[in-house]
Symmetry: C2
Subunit: 703 residues, 2 copies
């Protein structure tokens, strides 16, 4: 691996000038930003929290192809400051009301020799900083190609980091926790992880959202907001100086972004606090996204769903494919003349079983994977026209299921696995959404397994970033919600396009079936992946011993109760009860929590949090006097403290507590649980023991 | 430049075994093919014409990625021979009846170690050979990626060649005439030619159709037929052994074709004769294409057209763009609020002038370029959403023009310049054709200037080959004809998809405005580019001195009469009268020929031909007792001999002869012409002097 050191070292030799810094302070005074130009015209910023350095003076700007340095020789031609304090209401969310209170510094720069103009806009919140670059329309610069963004985040020391290795095509690595100085040593072994597609960064780099904790107890989260028409940012790591610097995802020819003046970059975000709970409570990234662009959002709704899915991973033999013929050709093969393989799960009768179950238990929808032509020979990359998105397999009666689901007041969730043959998907896309609209679907799960066609592109590059949003816009045209899997990690765009209801974009529950998740996994994700938006993590696995189905020896990395708690700790307005419905029928008392729990919220209370160790969150169900609490721990058992002071005063409630049993342990006895109820009020403080990789889940309703 | 020698040299060391050859002879006995397996299982073929060697024993097969040799170790498991003799009728063409008389040899091969199966099908005609590879469906081979096709064409000596240098993105080089041994020396200078996009082959290579002439007078043309779902073939040149070998156009990652068993390759074609006229008369390539796949072809018709086009090249200042604002953003810029630039040619009033002119003079259609949003900032490659294909500029009143054109019984030809932003075009494509259908358009000129997006692709690679055909199929859905410019060179697919009415795909008349065409240019093109199908060469320039318009000093490389003759010598069922209509009004007598000449034919007679020197062709207008003759010469004057024995016997006709005047010379007096008429019959032999780069055009009608 070649280390990326040149950009950071350059700065050490720069003449540190004495041009007066502009200082901006957050509304509560705790966070402050310095911006100035060095004597060679290099723009630099630094960030402090309660007087402690968070980001040391760090460079800003760009390298433009082929060889233009657009990060020095600037002079400042304009400066404006301002303050805004507004409240907005997400269509779906963790809070009914979100306050956006920030101070703003806008500086307009001109590069002396070229005359090129570059603006930088900073927004400083009580919980951190966002800044972006803006390219004003100008005569001498119009379309240009980025060689790199120079933005640095110069840390103050060898922080503890929760990191994924730099990769252009996947965010499904397990998270590694280590000091920054240990990343280089650990990266090679982390990259051994078997994944459908991997494209290593040539330089030592990590992905965002990057969660950091300094030795003196500062929690720092670095990510981006409003990633539109720009490549996703990875972070080069200089593990000597602890300087992080932007590493934009290139296309396969090395171009790092095709730009046009008049546009802006995403916001670079730094959330900071001395209390880990503030990181999870932060709305900074959402606040930096544009307000909702959809005029009508009445058709967007929270979704709790079950589906024909987990059985593909359990080892019981269910197949997405309808036949064994791997020589099928989409558009030519007449499937009605093919011999069925006898294991095709997405058949009408089986889907009806799920519809019946969903209807009986108050679920909104049933996901069906494997309904459409093409799964027999869905070879990635070597084949372009892999699937039809409008032709069901012969045993999936789309009209009958439409009728049946409507009668049962359940929606079927469409599935568009593209196997990353994206041009072909785009060709079929409008027909596919029209098909959905005509057949009563209002949500789709998209998938991008494997390497991308067009073959110049990576999952996290500008072209694909534009694609994902194109799908969301097309979906909105047909009033459909999108749950994208294997897409670039989110950056708060669900505010602007609330039909982008959730994403996967991280290591989800499916990896449990590959023995892939560790007990601390879900204590980290809210500090990393979820900073950008809701995740379709698909919790709810009750039968954690997959050997009951066949040869798969995988065992779940949690207790059963921790699976319940995830519905609260892993925020998403779209939540799956992922296990086979027959398993829920075996544990109806525990299943009651999944039936009850809300997925859209009026308010959220981060009660306890330490990344990699534990999280306890309480939330108030939207429009209801109901609260749900989830607490989880890593491999260590602990006692959660659940302070119910968020409850309205002077009123008693009935709490039902789903707790790990005395002998519960994820390794040996994950299904040992107890359920008991208790009268509680705003003065109650529950103390509840969590088993190793255990949890606690609580529902609170009026007496 | 790295020379490509390894593949060809390999053969010299192969053990030449003694396995008995299979011999196939053409119906007339003049052409014969030998096929056999060498003792190491390498398939080889050779070709003879009238007992003379045309292609020496040459290897066949493939290299498969990453490292599989699929061109030796074969055993033959089946052999079949046959003969077919049929007649078919093209929808549009040079002949009403085309005879397909060939013998066929089919061999099925199995590679001993791998068990992989490969079939080869040879078809031998009186004028040459076609063969293709077929990949049968089989258990152990399914999807695979080609590293190279090994097919060789081992020539017998240092032939004279009419060649374009190997290039993945353009076929707009001028043709160079030289010995094969001179290609290497000349290639670098030919590649200096300024073109919108160039991607040199790394190896010494030339493009097809490649026209060759041996020292002993054999004319040999190498090309391919039915290029579908496969990259276009270039030919590596070993200029020591004179071995040509297939060089498939790769994608930018180096992959040379993504294959699936069940498919076939294009046909490799070798047309051969000792009379150059037979090359032009050959229908071998059409015969190797599939019959027409369109059920209804009633809407396909020949097109003679004028248009808003040449004025963009003359230097008179007409612009495709409507404004001077280069910061426009398609979908955001409100053009009705933009200041017009005053030079936008595609405005309603000006288009009406062309409609009036077309209507007065019997033209079918008016091409209008520059009608749609986006031309101000149509930067290739750095920008993806360049044009709208459904939003006209404010001064182009699409509804009024639809009404006006219909009233005048003229069609407007749509223009889709993509600037090679192909994904974006595909996204808009169905809307664009629907828009055409709704507004009365039945033909579109497409364009692919500049490098391709997706950025992994070349103009001549498999992905784009599939794209061009996708456009043609979409067009057929909306009953539209396609005239594609800057697309891969044609391979006879106009038989299968007759709405693919013409292509440019070579250096057309527009290069006259860049001083780019040589006097011999059009004496070569019918032997090269036109072997694959009709070309929209856009002849008919009367005013050849562009300095009359402004600062452009270019002068036409032909006499005026040669421009007339091109309507006959350059076959196309779609022909433009490319000059400004005002120039035709100045020369109504000469213009009469363009008004009269047919563009679809019952029969064609190649009277005289020598590549690079001269061509004289007569054709019978489809369904009419009218004949048109065109004769052209290179920079040397000559006397054309026009033997009218093709006329029905015993009947007299009126011939109108458009001839170069006595002082005519392309360099000094191109517009010196004479027109005279003469009584002729089947015994008449006209002798007509052609000026340097001059021509003769004759119309023959009943008295």
């Amino acid at each position: 691996m070649k280390r990326f050191v040149s950009v950071c070292i350059l700065l050490c030799f720069a003449v540190w000038g004495t041009i007066k810094a502009q200082v901006l302070t957050s509304p509560d005074g705790n966070v402050s930003l310095d911006f100035r130009l060095l004597s060679d015209g290099t723009p630099v910023y630094s960030l402090q929290y309660k007087g402690r350095e968070v980001i040391k003076e760090s460079r800003m700007g760009f390298l433009v192809s082929p060889e233009f340095v657009f990060c020095k020789d600037f002079e400042q031609i304009e400066e404006r400051t301002g303050e805004a304090d507004t409240v907005w209401h997400p269509v779906l969310g963790q809070y009914r009301d979100i306050r956006d209170h920030h101070k703003e510094l806008f500086v307009a720069l001109r590069q002396k020799d070229t005359g090129w103009l570059l603006n930088i806009r900073f927004r400083l919140f009580d919980d951190g900083l966002g800044f972006r670059y803006e390219f004003p329309v100008q005569e001498d610069l119009r379309n240009f190609t980025l060689k790199e963004e120079v933005t640095e985040f110069r840390l103050t020391g060898d922080h503890k980091a929760f990191w994924l290795p730099g990769d252009y095509d996947t965010n499904e690595y397990p998270t590694t926790t280590s000091l920054l100085s240990e990343v280089a040593f650990l990266t090679d072994s982390v990259r051994q992880e078997p994944l459908a597609v991997k494209s290593f960064t040539p330089d030592l780099a990590v992905q965002t959202p990057l969660m950091l904790k300094s030795a003196d107890g500062l929690y720092i989260n670095i990510h981006e907001a409003a990633l539109v028409d720009y490549p996703a940012m990875q972070l080069n790591l200089d593990d000597k100086s602890f300087c992080l610097s932007a590493h934009l995802t290139p296309d396969k020819n090395g171009a790092k972004g095709f730009m046009q003046t008049g546009n802006v970059t995403p916001w670079r975000t730094i959330v900071v606090s001395d209390d880990a709970r503030d990181i999870l409570a932060s709305n900074l990234i959402l606040n930096l996204n544009e307000p909702c662009k959809l005029e009508d959002t009445s058709w967007i709704h929270p979704v709790k769903y079950v589906g024909v899915w987990w059985e593909y991973f359990t080892g019981q033999g269910s197949t997405w494919a309808y036949t064994k013929n791997q020589d099928i050709v989409i558009g030519k093969t007449d499937y009605t003349k093919e011999m069925p393989n006898g294991t095709h799960a997405a058949n009408t009768a089986h889907v009806k079983e799920y519809i019946d179950f969903a209807s009986r238990n108050g679920f909104d929808a049933v996901l069906v994977e494997g309904w459409n032509e093409g799964w027999e020979a869905n070879f990635a990359y070597v084949k372009e026209h892999i699937y039809s998105f409008t032709r069901p397999y012969p045993d999936f009666d789309v009209s009958e299921l439409q009728r049946y689901a409507a009668e049962k007041k359940v929606k079927i969730i469409m599935h568009h696995e593209t196997t990353s043959s994206v041009c072909d998907y785009e060709r079929q896309m409008e027909d596919a959404f029209r098909f959905m609209s005509e057949h009563g679907y209002d949500a789709v799960k998209t998938g991008y397994v494997g390497p991308i066609i067009p073959r110049s592109e990576h999952h996290d590059g500008q072209w694909m970033v534009n694609h994902y949003l194109r799908v969301v816009k097309m979906a909105a045209k047909y009033k459909a919600m999108v749950n994208s899997h294997e897409a670039v990690r989110p950056t708060g765009l669900c505010r602007t396009y609330p039909n982008w209801i959730a994403q996967e974009s991280a290591r989800g529950t499916e990896f449990e079936s590959f023995k892939g998740n560790r007990p601390d996994h879900t204590t980290i994700l809210p500090f990393t992946r979820l900073m950008g938006g809701p995740m379709d993590y698909t919790p709810g696995i009750f039968e954690g011993d997959l050997s009951v189905y066949g040869s798969n020896k995988a065992k779940l990395s949690t207790t059963l109760v921790k699976q319940l708690a995830l519905y609260v700790t892993m925020y998403s307005p779209l939540q799956m009860a992922a296990d086979l419905y027959t398993n829920y029928e075996k544990y109806p008392d525990a299943f009651q929590f999944i039936k009850d729990v809300a997925v859209d919220w009026d308010d959220t209370y981060i009660l306890e949090a330490e990344p990699g160790d534990y999280i306890t969150i309480a939330r108030k169900a939207k429009g209801k006097d109901e609260w749900y609490v989830g607490g989880i721990t890593d491999e260590n058992s602990r006692e959660a403290t659940i302070d119910l002071s968020f409850l309205p005063r002077g009123k008693n409630y009935r709490a039902v507590i789903y707790a790990d049993g005395e002998k519960a342990d994820w390794r040996t006895t994950p299904k040992d649980y107890v359920i008991f109820s208790k009268k509680v009020n705003s003065k109650t403080v529950l103390k509840q023991r969590l088993a190793p990789s255990g949890g606690v889940a609580v529902s609170i309703k009026p007496m």
